[in-house]
Amino acid sequence: MPDQQGLDFLIGISAFASAIFLFAASGYSMFIRMRIPKGKFSVIFPYLTMGMFLLGFMMISYSVIFLSGLGVITLLTTALFFMGTFIMMVGAYKVTLEFGELAPPPPRPMPKTKKRKKAPASKKKVVSPSSKKRVKKGTKKGKKGTKKAKKKTKKVVRKEEEE
């Protein structure tokens, strides 16, 4: 029957056209996934890519079925439909999980004021090597040096007196 064949051809071509649309959408979503930085808004794109790809593949199988006049083979198309839809469903579910993270956290109630314990002071001061270099004359280091000199002179004076 030529009329039926013409209708089948039309359906097959429309299925092929919709498959092209779905593959284009899949490719575009993959491109966007690679382009935008990873974050909350990029959650859906991998799932959308995969789902659209599977639906496009389903449409290809439908177009082959109608153009070749095989009749509708339900198993392959139904399986592809399930997989595509399920994957996109998972993506939608992941988006719903992200909603809580978008909102700013609720303000915490102010805790009762307590006296802070002072941190135990460290016994030794850590002196950086740069600060050691900056020590000027007349500081403790310099004074220590003068005390030694005084002791030496005292010893010398005592020796002289003994002699």
Binding site: A25, I36, V72, F82
Partner: protein, 109 residues
């Protein structure tokens, strides 16, 4: 073709498509509550995709009920709906790209 297999598969399709539409509705409502423009757009897109899937499953379910010629015409409608689904997804991607390029600064559309 075996109509009973088609009917069972279409009922399962309908169930999955219904769940998908429900999730899409949750996404849309959540996005409206949060005020996130991108996800509102995503919710609308998912809702339309869900509508396409429901339409497809309904068409497959009505194999035995309607004459062959009308059934094939319905297939044509369903395939057009799937083309619309692909178009909507591509539109969502385009809008996301445009908005994020504006937010992040630089970049072309």
């Amino acid at each position: 073709m075996d109509t009973s297999i088609l009917f069972i598969s279409s009922i399962m399709n309908l169930f999955i498509a219904g769940v998908f539409m429900g999730l899409a509705y949750v996404v849309l409502k959540g996005a409206e509550a949060e005020g996130a423009i991108l996800w509102m757009d995503l919710g609308r897109t998912l809702l339309m995709i869900g509508a396409c899937l429901v339409a497809q499953s309904l068409v497959v379910a009505s194999v035995a009920m309607i004459p062959d010629k009308a059934f094939k015409f319905l297939w044509f409608v369903v395939f057009i709906l799937f083309a619309v689904t692909g178009f909507l997804t591509a539109r969502y991607c385009y809008r996301t790209n445009k908005l994020l390029a504006g937010l992040l600064g630089g970049g072309d559309d």
